[in-house]
Point group: C2
Chain length 431, copies 2
């Protein structure tokens, strides 16, 4: 595992190199996806059935076979062992409670002229949630996408996922049932994104699509953006741990593993001012890695993209964290509140040694869909606010129109827009 | 001007045809922009100077010539006639006051286990504002982009604009001075977007770029998205007027003109249940159009993209408005509050006959950067919230970790992520 020291003269260039990740899109994937989108747009259900049979190796004859009923969702939940049912329920309740704090309400005020100003805040009409199939069919992902939409008051939540049966499917469908998903279609890939964006005879067009997916899904989401809203297209997952050297080094090692086990391009970095502690974490890594079921993925991720970084002090660590703008930031220190106030850019801040990132991934309450690839500099966790939108409200009184009309007249005339100026002037009293 | 009736059997397909607009990107522009971006990224200031000299026909030798000082901004403001100074100041104050209502504050709560949960809300570090040059160099656009960033607390607001001197330049620079812009560079086009996204030796890299521009600017913003945040790429401007037939028809005609005068692809539509009133508006249009300085643009816009639509009643009008999801919606009716409550999708709602859209464009307070092309279904006016971002806060107590660790353990195990499960389990008390 790479070791860096922030006092080295070339440290920041080494850091930039470590963080760089080639997210170049494949022109071949882009053009294959464009063809699928156009085909679904023009041929609807028939094209959905064809692509699903071809790519997902199914033998569907009618579009109805691709929809799962609420009764089937409930039955899937009921088939889960009771400890899994309870765990999903606890996670669902906590996530719902947290997200209720995010719901925004319309507001307005009246100025001295009697003019009313404000914003009317409303939920989206209908949203689509993409849930990957296979081993990446995560029930937690269903909760984290569907619950904010549900809390926002979105009346219709349409989920798509290329489910293939078995226990994974029961967990995903059970989570969908708990989270309040309205309809599910067992389709995936670019064809599912297209069906949600354009609508077909059977699958209703949505206003926004969220959720993770492979390169085809990501390309499809980018291409339909504008037609519908999308969430961020996510890059590889990242964790940055800042430790004061007082946490059990095994805990830090496992927290680094829990990010690295996602995939070989995931990134796990430790910042610590204590050289001896860094060595201790290194020893924990060597000791614990062989026991991990996903050891090979973790080893590759840590080797290629991980780092243990010696920093001058905790302030230095915060400065580096703000440069990295990590998706997940653990402040494994005794005084996390002081440090958190110095963090300007991070998707989620996990404070204190007891707050492992995995608790936040599943059930602490906050969303696990977070900005990656330094985009925490300008974007936010998925939230209820992503499923609400605002309309400005303006009701100008006759007195207001008299005053404002004169101002708008001058500004519109200056901009060379005479109809704007005249529209304002018409509302100015002349007597 | 096209006339439609919502009771016609093919009405909704005619409406969809009227609304459709080919926003296909030009592959040639895309590839020219990609080359400019790559060149600015690798050669910095030198490339900025070259492209500026070539495209903007300037003879700049040093990058310093492209920066405008705060003293020059102030001098530009001072050169404006006093009625323009006062109009800009009034607009600035009202826009600032309105946007202060949008500023969001960090929040947190503690659950029964002593676990702290919340969101830390912070301003972006540095943003870039693009302001077009020439006749589209609108001072109102400077105010509408810079003030929300300033209210959000963004410490550095970098503006770029290919200014060419004269009264327009004084107005734009004066507005920048009032609105609190930090630095201005007189550059434009894809090269300006690239300089903001990647930074050069002189021009600092920003975290988000907002503001309108031509096809090259729009393509450049799309291409740098991910590297930095961007606002929506705007389509042609639109107004939908719902009138109960009681407003002076000249007012409605001029309000339709004030949208149509923007450009030939702008869209102006009237919905009214009163056939005789529609005829009256038509007569006002014929009477007033020849007097308008931008009559040719208005005529083309109204002919190709405008419509007068007879509706069954005002509820029918609201249903059609929700289908259109217009950028600007005027409710030119006696009871606008009742109607506004039925509107789910609109960028801004202008309520009552005195509220002309042009008052909102300049000085009522709300932002004039609004979602176009039906995107009001899923997006919002530009606001302070676009210049703030959120970090989730999670500080799990030892009791919380004991309880949540068991839940996360079950869910992570179900998802096949054993390091996640172990990280959670390590925080569960064993005694």
């Amino acid at each position: 595992m790479r070791k860096l020291n922030s006092s080295d003269s070339n440290f920041y260039s080494s850091l930039d190199e470590l963080l760089s990740f080639d997210a170049t899109l494949s022109p071949e994937i882009e053009s294959r996806v464009a063809a699928i989108l156009a085909d679904i747009k023009s041929r609807g259900d028939a094209a959905v059935i064809e692509y699903t049979n071809r790519f997902d190796r199914r033998e569907v004859k009618e579009i109805g076979e691709l929809e799962v009923s609420q009764e089937e969702l409930k039955a899937a939940f009921d088939r889960l062992p009771s400890h899994e049912q309870q765990a999903l329920q606890t996670a669902c309740e906590r996530v719902r409670k947290y997200h209720q704090h995010q719901k925004q309400a319309s507001w307005q005020y009246t100025d001295e002229d009697g003019t009313l100003l404000g914003q009317q805040i409303t939920p989206l009409d209908r949203v689509g949630i993409y849930v990957p199939g296979g081993t990446a069919a995560y029930p937690s992902s269903v909760l984290m996408n569907a619950i904010p939409a549900h809390v926002a008051g979105v009346p219709e939540i349409i989920m798509v996922s290329p489910l293939r049966g078995g226990a994974e499917q029961d967990r995903v469908m059970g989570a969908a049932w708990l989270a309040g998903v309205t309809r599910i279609f067992t389709i995936g890939g670019a064809q599912a994104v297209a069906a949600l964006a354009f609508g077909t005879e059977t699958i209703p067009a949505v206003d926004k699509i969220t959720g993770p997916g492979n390169a085809y899904v990501a390309a499809a989401k980018r291409q339909v953006f504008g037609q519908v809203g999308i969430d961020m297209v996510a890059g590889p997952s990242e964790i940055l741990v800042i430790c004061d050297g007082k946490t059990n080094p095994d805990w830090v090692a496992i927290d680094l593993f829990s990010q690295a086990e996602h995939d070989e391009v995931a990134q796990a970095i430790l910042l610590c001012p204590d050289e001896a502690y860094i060595t201790a974490v290194e020893q924990s890594i060597e000791k614990l890695l062989p026991e991990m079921p996903r050891a090979e993925i973790i080893r590759t991720s840590l080797k290629n993209r991980g780092a243990l970084i010696k920093v001058a002090d905790l302030d230095d660590a915060c400065a580096i964290a703000n440069r990295i703008a990590p998706e997940h930031l653990e402040l494994s220190v005794e005084e996390p509140t002081l440090l958190a106030a110095k963090i300007r850019h991070a998707g989620a801040i996990f404070m204190g040694a007891f707050t492992s990132e995995s608790l936040g991934d599943y059930c602490a309450g906050p969303n696990h869909v977070l900005p990656t690839a330094r985009s925490a500099r300008f974007s936010s966790p998925l939230g209820v606010y992503d499923f609400q939108k605002r309309s400005s409200l303006i009701c100008v009184s006759p007195d207001g129109a008299h005053a404002l009309g004169q101002v708008a007249d001058i500004l519109a005339t200056g901009e060379g827009l005479p109809a704007h100026a005249l529209a304002a002037r018409l509302r100015v009293r002349t007597e």
